[in-house]
C-alpha cells in the first residue's frame, strides 16, 4: 500500500498539481480573476504536441518547448484581446469573459482539428521505467518531479531577485498602491498571464504523457484540480498553491486506497464539498500566507 512506489507516484502527481495551481493563482493574486480559460491553455499545449510530434520532424525537446511557448502566447493573447478591455468593468464581467474564452478556445479546437480524440506521439522516455530500490518507477514521474523543482526554483528566483518579480509580488499584495508607485499595470498583468501560460504548457506535456491522447475537452479535469488545489492552499499565496497541489495529490491518492469502490466514483464530489467547506470556514486557505494575515479589511 504505502510503499516507495506510492510515495513517488504521489510526489509526481503533487508536482504536477502544484505547477497547475501556480498558474491559476498567479493571475488570481493580481486580478482576482478565476481564469476558467486556464484549462484550455493546457488543451492548446496538448494540440501543439499532437501536431508537431505527428506532422513535423522536429526533435521532441524542441516540440515540448514550442508547446510551452504556444500556450504562453495564447495566454497573452487572451489577456490582450478579452481580459484587458473588461478589466476595469467588474469582477463578474471578467469571470463571464473567462468562461466565454474557455468556450471559444474549446470549440475552436473542435472546429479546426476534430471532436474525436487524437493520439499524441510521445518519446520513448515517457513509456519506460527505471528500477529504484526494487520498484519500477516510470521515467515520466521522475521527470515531473524534476521539472517541478526546476520551475519552482526559477519562479522563486524571478520573484525574489528581479525588479519584475518584486513588482509582481507587490501587485499581488496591493495592486492599487503598486500602480501609484509607478509600476505599469499592463506589464505586471501580462507577465502574470505569461507565467500562467508557461505553467499550463509544461503541465500539458505531463498531462498528455499520462493519457497520450488529446481532445477538445481536455482542459476541464486539470482546471477542476487547479480550483481545488488553490482553494486548499489559499487563493492568494503562491506557496499556498504549491502546498495545495501536494495536499490535493496526497488526499486523492489516500482516498484511492481507503475509499470503498462504490464511493470512489463520488471522489470528485467529496473534493468539491471540501472546497465549499474550506471557503466557508477558512477563506484564507488551510495555509494562510503572510500578506493575508497582515491585510486589513
Amino acid at each position: 500500500m504505502i510503499n516507495l512506489e506510492f510515495i513517488i507516484n504521489t510526489l509526481s502527481l503533487g508536482s504536477l498539481y502544484a505547477m497547475l495551481a501556480l498558474g491559476l493563482v498567479i493571475i488570481y493574486g493580481i486580478l482576482r480573476l478565476v481564469n476558467f480559460a486556464y484549462g484550455e491553455l493546457i488543451m492548446i499545449g496538448g494540440y501543439t504536441l499532437y501536431l508537431l510530434a505527428g506532422f513535423s520532424a522536429l526533435p521532441w525537446l524542441i516540440v515540448a518547448v514550442l508547446a510551452v511557448v504556444i500556450a504562453m502566447f495564447t495566454s497573452l493573447l487572451t489577456e490582450l484581446v478579452a481580459f484587458r478591455p473588461v478589466r476595469e468593468k467588474s469582477l463578474t464581467a471578467m469571470l463571464i469573459t473567462s468562461f466565454a474564452v474557455s468556450a471559444l478556445l474549446q470549440n475552436a479546437a473542435l472546429l479546426i482539428i476534430s471532436p474525436r480524440a487524437r493520439a499524441v506521439n510521445l518519446p520513448q522516455i515517457f513509456q519506460t521505467s527505471v528500477m529504484i530500490a526494487g520498484t519500477s518507477v516510470p521515467w515520466r514521474n521522475i521527470l515531473t518531479i524534476a521539472t517541478c523543482i526546476i520551475m519552482l526554483t526559477l519562479l522563486t528566483l524571478l520573484l525574489r531577485r528581479t525588479v519584475l518579480g518584486i513588482a509582481l509580488r507587490a501587485a499581488a499584495d496591493n495592486f492599487r498602491m503598486t500602480r501609484m508607485l509607478g509600476v505599469p499595470a499592463n506589464t505586471v498583468i501580462s507577465t502574470a498571464f505569461a507565467i500562467s501560460g508557461i505553467m499550463a504548457g509544461i503541465v500539458s506535456i505531463f498531462w498528455i504523457a499520462r493519457s497520450s491522447t488529446v481532445t477538445p475537452t481536455l482542459g476541464a479535469p486539470p482546471l477542476l484540480v487547479a480550483f481545488v488545489a488553490t482553494v486548499i492552499g489559499g487563493m492568494r499565496s503562491l506557496t499556498g498553491a504549491v502546498v495545495g497541489g501536494f495536499v490535493y495529490a496526497i488526499i486523492i491518492s489516500l482516498l484511492g486506497i481507503f475509499l470503498p469502490p462504490d464511493l470512489l466514483e463520488f471522489r470528485e464530489a467529496f473534493m468539491f464539498a471540501f472546497v465549499i467547506i474550506v471557503l466557508l470556514f477558512r477563506p484564507q486557505g488551510l495555509i494562510s500566507s503572510k500578506t493575508a494575515v497582515e491585510r486589513v479589511g
Binding site: I30, A93, N107, R176, A269, L280
Partner: protein
C-alpha cells in the same frame, strides 16, 4: 388605485407577455413542426434565464449552480411522472420503491421544482455569506457536485446513460403558460420588498446593511426562488425532450443560459426575455449554416462548434462594449419611452457592484 393605474404598474410584464403571446400565436398559425419545437424550447429557456436573472440580476452575484438545479428538477419530476413499465425499461437498476410512483404531470413538475428549491435552501444558506470569487467558486463547486452525483447515482438517474421513455407532456402552450407565470413572478419579485432590499445590497452593501437589511437572508430568498424556477424549467424541458443524460445539465447548458442573460441584460426582466429571443434566433441561424456546411462536406472532420464560437465572441464583445447587455438596466414598456427618460435606477455596471472597481 383605479384600474388604469393598476395596469400601469404591470406595464412591463404585460408588454413582455403580449410579445410572447404574439410569437406563440404566429408559431401556431404557421404550424411548421420544426419552428414549433424551436419556439417551445425557447420559452423553456426563457424560464431558465428568468430564474437566473432573479438571483444574478438582483444580487449582482454570478451563480453557476443554476443548471444543477435545473437537472434536479428534471430528474425528480421525470421519476414521478414516468409509468412504472417505462421506468423498468429505462433503468433496471432503479430503487424498487421509486417504480410504482406514478403522478400526473403538474404535481410531478411542482414536486421537482420544490425539491430543487429545498436543496438550494439547505446548501445555499451558508454560501450566501460569500461574495466575489469565493461565491463563484462555491456555486461552481455545487454544479460539479450535482453533476458527479447525477452521473454516478445510477440507481436514480441511470448513471451517465440516457434516461428515455419520458412522456411528452410539454407542448408549445404549456411552455407559454409557465413562461407567462414566470415573467409575472420574477417581475413581482424584483419590485417586492425583498427584491428592492436585495438590489440595495447589490448597489451598495454597506449602505444597505446600515439601514438594517440582512444581506444574507435576502440573497438566500432569491437563491431559493431562483432554484425553484430552474426546477420548473428543468421539468418542462425534460418532458419536452423526453430522453437526456446528466451531461445535458452541465457546462455547455450553463454557457448558453449565461450568454442569453448577459447579452440581453442581466439587470432587468426584459433583458432576460430579449436575450433569450436574440440568442435563440442567432443560434438557430448559425446551426442551420453549420448543418448546410456539414451536408456539403467541405470539412473532412465535420464542421462543429461554429455556433458556440460566434456566441462566445458576441458575449465577449457585449461585455467589452455594453456590459449591461442590450437593454442595460431598463425595462421594456408600452408605449416605448424615449432615451431621455432613463429609469431612475442607477447603472449598476461599474461602481455599484460590490468589488467592482476595487482592483483597478
Amino acid at each position: 388605485m383605479n384600474l388604469i393605474d393598476r395596469i400601469k404598474t404591470f406595464n412591463t410584464p404585460l408588454t413582455l407577455v403580449a410579445g410572447i403571446l404574439l410569437v406563440a400565436i404566429l408559431t401556431e398559425l404557421l404550424g411548421i413542426p420544426l419552428l414549433t419545437r424551436i419556439v417551445t424550447v425557447m420559452f423553456v429557456s426563457t424560464i431558465l434565464v428568468l430564474g437566473l436573472q432573479l438571483y444574478m440580476g438582483n444580487s449582482g452575484i454570478l451563480s453557476f449552480a443554476h443548471i444543477g438545479f435545473m437537472g434536479i428538477g428534471a430528474y425528480t419530476s421525470v421519476l414521478l411522472s414516468m409509468t412504472p413499465t417505462a421506468k423498468e425499461l429505462a433503468n433496471s437498476n432503479l430503487y424498487p420503491f421509486l417504480i410504482p410512483i406514478h403522478l400526473p404531470f403538474l404535481p410531478s413538475l411542482l414536486i421537482g421544482a420544490l425539491v430543487a428549491a429545498f436543496i438550494a435552501a439547505v446548501v445555499g444558506f451558508p454560501l450566501m455569506r460569500l461574495s466575489d470569487a469565493a461565491a463563484v467558486i462555491t456555486t461552481f463547486a455545487l454544479l460539479v457536485i450535482v453533476n458527479v452525483v447525477m452521473v454516478h447515482w445510477d440507481r436514480v438517474t441511470n448513471g451517465p446513460r440516457t434516461l428515455f421513455g419520458v412522456d411528452n407532456y410539454t407542448n408549445l402552450w404549456t411552455a407559454v403558460a409557465f413562461c407567462v407565470i414566470t415573467i409575472f413572478a420574477v417581475y413581482l419579485f424584483k419590485e417586492s420588498r425583498v427584491g428592492l432590499r436585495l438590489r440595495a445590497t447589490r448597489d451598495d452593501a454597506y449602505a444597505a446593511a446600515s439601514i438594517g437589511i440582512n444581506m444574507v437572508v435576502m440573497r438566500w430568498l432569491a437563491f431559493v426562488a431562483s432554484a425553484f424556477v430552474a426546477g420548473v424549467g428543468g421539468a418542462l424541458w425534460a418532458h419536452f425532450i423526453t430522453s437526456f443524460t446528466p451531461y445535458s445539465f452541465y457546462l455547455n447548458e450553463t454557457f448558453v443560459i449565461l450568454a442569453m442573460l448577459v447579452i440581453g441584460g442581466p439587470y432587468s426582466v426584459s433583458g432576460a426575455v430579449v436575450g433569450t429571443l436574440v440568442v435563440t434566433t442567432a443560434r438557430e441561424v448559425l446551426r442551420a449554416i453549420e448543418n448546410q456546411v456539414n451536408i456539403l462536406q467541405i470539412f473532412p472532420e465535420g464542421f462543429f462548434g461554429f455556433t458556440e464560437i460566434v456566441l462566445a465572441i458576441v458575449l465577449i464583445a457585449i461585455l467589452i462594449y455594453r456590459p449591461t447587455g442590450i437593454l442595460g438596466s431598463q425595462e421594456i414598456r408600452w408605449p416605448p419611452r424615449l432615451r431621455k427618460a432613463r429609469s431612475a435606477e442607477p447603472n449598476p455596471s461599474i461602481d455599484h457592484i460590490p468589488g467592482g472597481k476595487q482592483n483597478v
